[in-house]
Each structure stands twice: as C-alpha cells, then as structure tokens.
C-alpha cells in the first residue's frame, strides 16, 4: 500500500477518527474537569473559564464531550462489529449451504425484523439487568438482522459464480468457501454498510439513552448529552448542538475512510474506480 495513493478525503477521515480515539483513550488526562463534576452555573456560555460552556447541571461540556467519546465510540463500535460478525457469518452460511438452513435462518430473521426494533430493545432491556455488555449485545443482535439481509443478498450473487463452483469441485469446505472465496468479493458493499451502520448505532444508542435504557447517568455519552441539553435550544443556548456536531463529525469521518477503502477494493476487480 502506497501512502501517496491515499486521497485527501481519507486523510481527513483518519485524522478525525484518530482525534476521537485519542480523546477516548486519554480522557482523564485531557479533560480539564471530571466527568460528573459540577463546576459552574447552568448553561454558562462558551469561552471564558469553560471552553465550550457548561451543561444543564453546570458540568463542563468540554470534559463531558471527551469522556462521552469513550462510551459512545466503544459501545457503538462494539455493537457494530458484533452485529457484522454475527450477521455475516449467518448470512454467508445460509447463502452457501442453501436448503433448510437457509430457510430457517431467513424466516427467523424475518420474524425478528417484523418486531419494531425500538420496542423490542425496550422490552428486552427493561427485563435484563442494566449492564453495558447486555446493552451492546442487544444492539448487536437487533442490528445484525439488517446485516443478514444485505449479507445474504450479496453472498448469493457471488455464491453462484463459477469460481465458487470450482472450489466446491476441488472439495473445499464451507469455511474456505465463505472466508476465502466469497468474503473478499463482498467486502465493498459490506464496508459501505459498516460505515452507515456505525452512524446508526450511535443514534440508536442515544435514542436508548434518551429513554433511560442506554448509558446510565451520570456517565456521559454524546446522544445522552444532546438529550440533557435539548431544552436549552428554546432559550437560544447551543449546548445541545455541540455533542450533536461531534456525532455528525465522527459519522462523516468514518464514511470518508470507508469510501476510500471501497474504492481501493473495487479497483482490484477492474471495476469502476470512481463508483
């Protein structure tokens, strides 16, 4: 891989992600105040003592943004990675084996998708103990139904190609066919989906936080911070827009990198490089 061949947009995306990751990793060192520490009065303006002002309880917004990066990125990323692993494994197995296994998986997936995601999540999270790993798992399982759909569709297209038949004729096992023959040829659409799903995960997490079933206060997460400060908008206070901007910025950065990766992998096929 040649560093020079990486376009500017991808550099911007990578810089943004790196920035967010550094914030997340070294949060206690960077943040001027504590995560839940009340340091001033309610909704102080930006500038002055507090770089980005304070929130609805008088906590430093900048510090909370930095700590929030931790939970938000970790939970969203873990949920997305998990949902992709699960969804792709199941969908590829279904596409390669076909028959009864395909039918069982697909109909079960339809069943899961028939229940509205948010309601399903509310019911499950209300019943289960409120722990971070359970939250991640529930988000991953719910999201994996979407991944399953797209994964099965792209894998079916590839599974009927002659090189897969050639691999079968060679006597290769299902594992080889899935990971060596099909997966590399379905990476482009799946990577694009990954970028999109990651952004959705952040939003879903903030929805859950808003309803009180996501990240529990006083821990900060970007979606929860939007919720906490939303009332300020009425009074012309922009505190809610700052974490919102962070979510948008991160989603854009992830997608810039994904776009570049997609271009790189699709050009191998001799396909349209600019697609």
């Amino acid at each position: 891989m040649n560093l020079r061949s990486i376009p500017l947009s991808a550099w911007i995306g990578m810089a943004g992600i790196a920035f967010a990751l550094i914030c997340a990793l070294f949060a206690p060192l960077i943040a001027p105040y504590g995560e839940a520490q009340i340091v001033g009065s309610v909704w102080e303006p930006a500038g002055g003592t507090f770089l980005l002002g304070t929130d609805n309880l008088g906590r430093d917004l900048f510090s909370r943004l930095i700590f929030g990066a931790r939970t938000t990125i970790f939970v969203a990323l873990a949920a997305t990675v998990l949902s992709f692993s699960l969804g792709m494994l199941l969908s590829f197995t279904a596409a390669v084996t076909g028959g009864l296994i395909d039918q069982t998986f697909s109909r079960f997936n339809d069943l899961m998708m028939a229940i509205p995601t948010l309601i399903f999540a509310l019911v499950v999270l209300a019943v289960l103990p409120q722990q971070l790993w359970i939250l991640i798992l529930v988000m991953a399982v719910l999201d994996s139904t979407r991944v399953y759909r797209i994964g099965r569709a792209v894998a079916l297209d590839v599974a009927v190609m002659e090189f897969v038949e050639a691999a079968r004729l060679r006597g290769e096992g299902t594992g080889w066919i899935i990971f060596r023959e099909i997966l590399p040829n379905t990476l482009s659409p799946l990577l694009a989906e990954f970028g999109l799903r990651f952004a959705f995960s952040i939003l879903f997490l903030s929805t859950l936080s808003f309803l009180g079933l996501g990240i529990q206060p006083p821990a900060a997460d970007w979606g929860g911070m939007v919720k906490d400060n939303k009332d300020g908008i009425i009074f012309g206070i922009s505190a809610a827009l700052i974490p919102g901007g962070a979510i948008a910025g991160l989603a854009i950065c992830v997608n810039l990198v994904v776009d570049w990766l997609m271009k790189r992998t699709s050009s191998l096929k001799g396909g349209r490089g600019d697609g």
Binding site: A166, L169, G171, P184, S267, G270, D274
Partner: protein
C-alpha cells in the same frame, strides 16, 4: 460520386480512467479509410478490441460510451456527417442509416409488440404512412422467411426464438428503406444451425431490397458468404482492404493469412481406443423441477485421449459435464472412472476422486476469484491436494506457468490484469496443478478470438502429449472437433445421436442431425452458403 458512404482517415479517441492513475486519452482507431458503394456489402473483421463496432457506428456519426470521433470525415452521399448539427444527424439515423445489434434480445423493448417496434422508425421519420409501413413490414417478414408473416408482428419479443428475433431486428432496420445498414455481429450469439438460416435470410433481404451494408464480425468464414469487400482491422488500424476473392484466396498481410488459415489444424486420431478411463452408462438426469435434460446417455473415453461432445445450446452437453463432476447427481445410470464406480453426488466423493477430474470453464473471468493473484489461484490445488507450501509450492507454480507458456512474472497479477487468452491459460494451469487424469473442458475457447483460441487448443494438445491427460471437450464448433478429438459424441436434445471414433463419426452416412450440424459450420469458401442450403436434408429446429 458513386460511393454511398466514404470514410477518410478516421481517428477515434476515448478517455480511459485507470484506477489510481490520471485519466489519459487513448487512440482507438487511426487512419482508417474505406468506401461502400450502393447495394454493396463491406465486411469489417478483426478480433475484439480492434475497433470494428466503433468504426461501424461512425456511419451513424455515433460514439458509444465516451468515444469521440476526433478526425477524418464520414461522407454519406457526399455530405460529411461529422459536420452535421445534432438535429441533422437525427434525420440520418434510423432513416438513411440503420443499425442491427448483436443481441436482439436486449435491443427489443419487451413490453411492446414486435410489429410496432419494426415500423416505429419509419413512422417517426415520416418516411411512410402507417399503412405503407405495415405493408412493408409484412413484405420484409416474408423476405426474411419468418413463420406466419401476417401475424408475426402481433407477438412480443419473448414469444419468438433468438434467430427469429435477430431477423425481426433486420426487418426493423430495413423498414424505413435505408440506404445503409450496419450489422454488428448479428449471428455471433446464435447457434451454428440457427446462424446459417439467419445469415441466409439477411443475405436474401439485402439482395432483394438493394440496400448497402456494413457487416461486422470476427468470423472470416461468415463474412466470406455475405460481403463484396472486406476490411481487416487490428488494434484500430487497417491491415488489409480488398475484395472477398482477394482476401480469401490471396491474402497479402501476415495477419490476414493467419485468420484465413485459423481453422486449418487437424489432428490424427488415436488408433487404439480400448483402454477406457471414463465410462458413462445409461445416464438419465433431470433438474429439480423435474425437467429431464439427459436421456439414456452412454459413452466412454480412453486414457490419454480426447472425446469431443458436440451439440447446440440446450442439447445437454454442459449438463453431462455437471453430472460427471457430481454437481448434478443423475437419476439413473452409472459413471465409472478408471474401472471403479464413481459416487454420484459430489459430497460422497473423496478428495482423491475429486483431484482426478478437473474442469475448465468457458468464461475464465468468472471461473477465477478476482481477489486472488495468479499464484494463489494456481497454488491452492497444490496445497489442498499435495500439501505443498513455501519454496516447493513456489517452484511448482513457476513450473506450471512455464508449462502454459506464460512465465513467473505473471504470478503476482490479478485476473483483471490479464488478457482473455492468458486468463484461460491460468485456468488450465489450475486444473493441471491437481495432476488430474481427466479435464472437462466446457467450451474453453468459444469466448476467445480465433487466433487466441487456436493458441489455447495447441497448448491443450501439447499438455496432453506431456502429461497423458484425457480431455472431455464440450464444443459447438466442428472445426475444433476436427482439430483435437479422437472420438466424438454428437448430442441433440439430451440424447447422444452419434458416438464413435472421429474418422467414423464425421464421415457419411450421416443421420439427419449430424448432417445439419456439419453443414452449418461456415467454411472459408465463397459460395459455401448457397451450396449448403441446396443440399441439406433437415431444417434447423429452433430457428
């Protein structure tokens, strides 16, 4: 000026966008000049990428997909088409110059009746009234020998066969009474037995209506039947331009000579055909929907020899290969390999049984994983069957690359970075890597240009001599059978209608189908078409 179309010093360029590089301008065609007289037919011939279609389309002043005509002139009746306004060109296209595409199935709108589409251009250009146009369409359907010409126009495109659709498209082009028609490989996608009928129909219609034509094809034998002049192209440049007589009988350029002699290869068949490797007995197979594709097929293949399976599409020849590989377990019958019965289903076969039968596909593009390098593609069977790794594997990959006459510098390329012929060679190397005893070749040369295809055939013969591998070679081309086979099986509608050593199978007395098949293969001879049409006994079925 007697010439209808006169093209002078044509230059065509396009912009290519190589991944990861700056866009650059490529010259597709340069310095091409030719003339078409009224009522005459010019053949454009060359391999893929030679610029035949691009040149043909300039007669309509059209550049496909970002192609630009940047130099020269194209005069129709003395008027330079390249200088016309878009409105002026529109008056020419579809009225004075018409186009017949290779794939009629893709060129017709499936939602409208054929008759409407045939007369559409004539009405749109105001050349004739609806009644006149319908009358002319009826006349053309008759001239083109379409069944039930009175009601043919009432049908939808999916209700007629491929050959009929191609003729309907010819009718569509002829309907506005154009001065020139551009035929872009009109018979290439058809079966041999259908091709001859369409060819005859087109020829008859051109003669009857007195229209001039440009006929584009890669098959010199086809073009020899239908045209007056031939222009041979290669890499966008003129190689040779002359009358049919001169090109076929006294070609000047070396490239043309190679094209004329391309079907000349003949191999002697093996005398001793007793040592059987593959024995197929009474195979009957059907698809999961119950449709029976193979009826009671029996044949055998001796060790180290080549069995050619000939037939048109739908005759079940590829299905037979699938049955032998185990992808489609037969309903009845047995397959034995080297004296032992072979399990019917793929899953029941051992790796060694799989190793001994390898397969080469028609489309090398789709038969190789685009994400693997040549080294990975060839190396996998070595690891899988023989457990080779590291240096040993690398050495064997290089050895195989040498065997297919490509060399080690190709090892780290991806399939997209190879030409069509090279891809097929890599596919052969992958099959050879398993050291098989039988290779099933499913039309491995039919997607390739004639000279490249000949190279592949020679390679296969050379490899057979070196490794004593047997081939079951599926093809629709009798010329290939003559070139490489020891024994021949002719298939028609799922049955083997003829089976035996080549010398016996391809000499009279013939059954009706074999007669038709043999007489449908165009020969490099002027007047062949007329001769054959007079002498054949059976009409091709699905024309």
């Amino acid at each position: 000026m007697a010439d209808l179309l006169s093209v002078r010093d044509l230059k065509i360029e396009a912009t290519s966008y190589p991944p990861g590089e700056r866009p650059r301008t490529v010259t597709l065609v340069e310095g091409v000049s030719f003339d078409v007289e009224k009522g005459k037919v010019l053949g454009l011939i060359g391999e893929s990428g030679a610029g035949k279609s691009t040149i043909g389309l300039t007669a309509l002043a059209y550049g496909r997909g970002g192609v630009r005509i940047t130099g020269g002139e194209v005069r129709l009746n003395g008027e330079d088409l390249l200088k016309l306004s878009p409105g002026g060109i529109r008056k020419v296209r579809g009225a004075k110059v018409c186009y017949v595409a290779q794939s009629a199935a893709a060129a017709f709108n499936p939602a409208h009746r054929l008759g409407e589409q045939v007369i559409e251009a004539a009405l749109r250009h105001g050349v004739m009234t609806r009644a006149e146009a319908e009358e002319r369409a009826l006349y053309l359907f008759r001239v083109l020998g379409l069944p039930n010409p009175e009601t043919f126009g009432q049908r939808y495109p999916h209700q007629v066969s491929g050959g009929q659709l191609q003729r309907a498209m010819t009718a569509m082009a002829l309907c506005p009474n154009p001065e020139l028609i551009v035929f872009d490989e009109p018979t290439t996608a058809l079966d041999v037995t259908t091709q001859i009928d369409v060819l005859a129909a087109i020829k008859h219609a051109i003669e009857e209506t007195g229209t001039a034509a440009i006929y584009i094809t890669h098959d010199l034998a086809v073009v020899a039947q239908i045209t007056d002049d031939i222009l041979v192209l290669r890499h966008g440049k003129m190689v040779e331009y002359g009358s049919v007589q001169q090109i076929i009988e006294a070609p000047q350029a070396e490239y043309t000579r190679a094209l004329v002699n391309v079907r000349g290869t003949r191999s002697e068949e093996a005398v001793d055909q007793s040592d059987t490797l593959l024995q197929v007995e009474n195979i009957t197979a059907n698809y999961s929907n119950g449709f029976t594709v193979l009826h009671d097929v029996s044949l055998h293949l001796p060790k180290g020899q080549t069995l050619a399976i000939v037939g048109e599409s739908g005759s079940g020849k590829s299905t037979l290969a699938r049955v032998i590989t185990g992808l489609l377990p037969p309903r009845e019958g047995t397959i034995s390999f080297d004296g032992k019965p072979l399990p019917k289903a793929l899953k029941k076969r051992s790796n060694d049984e799989l190793r001994r039968i390898q397969m080469i596909y028609q489309m090398a593009d789709t038969a190789m994983n685009p994400r693997q390098t040549v080294r990975e593609i060839i190396g996998r069977p070595l690891t899988f069957y023989y457990g080779l790794r590291g240096k040993e594997k690398s050495a064997r990959v290089n050895e195989l690359l040498d065997q297919i006459e490509m060399g080690g510098q190709f090892a780290d390329r991806y399939p997209a970075e190879l030409s069509g012929g090279q891809k097929q060679r890599v596919a052969i190397a992958r099959a050879l890597a398993a050291r098989p005893e039988l290779i099933l070749c499913d039309e491995p040369t039919s997607a390739l240009d004639p000279l490249v295809a000949e190279g592949i055939l020679k390679l296969l013969l050379k490899l057979q001599e070196e490794t004593h591998v047997s081939y079951m070679f599926i093809t629709h081309d009798i010329a290939i059978v003559r070139a490489i086979a020891d024994s021949v099986a002719v298939m028609h509608r799922g049955r083997v209608v003829r089976f035996g050593p080549k010398s016996k199978a391809l000499s009279p007395p013939f059954d009706d189908y074999t007669d038709l098949l043999l007489k449908s293969v165009p020969e490099m001879e002027i007047g062949w078409l007329e001769r054959v049409l007079k002498t054949r006994r059976m009409e091709s079925a699905g024309n």
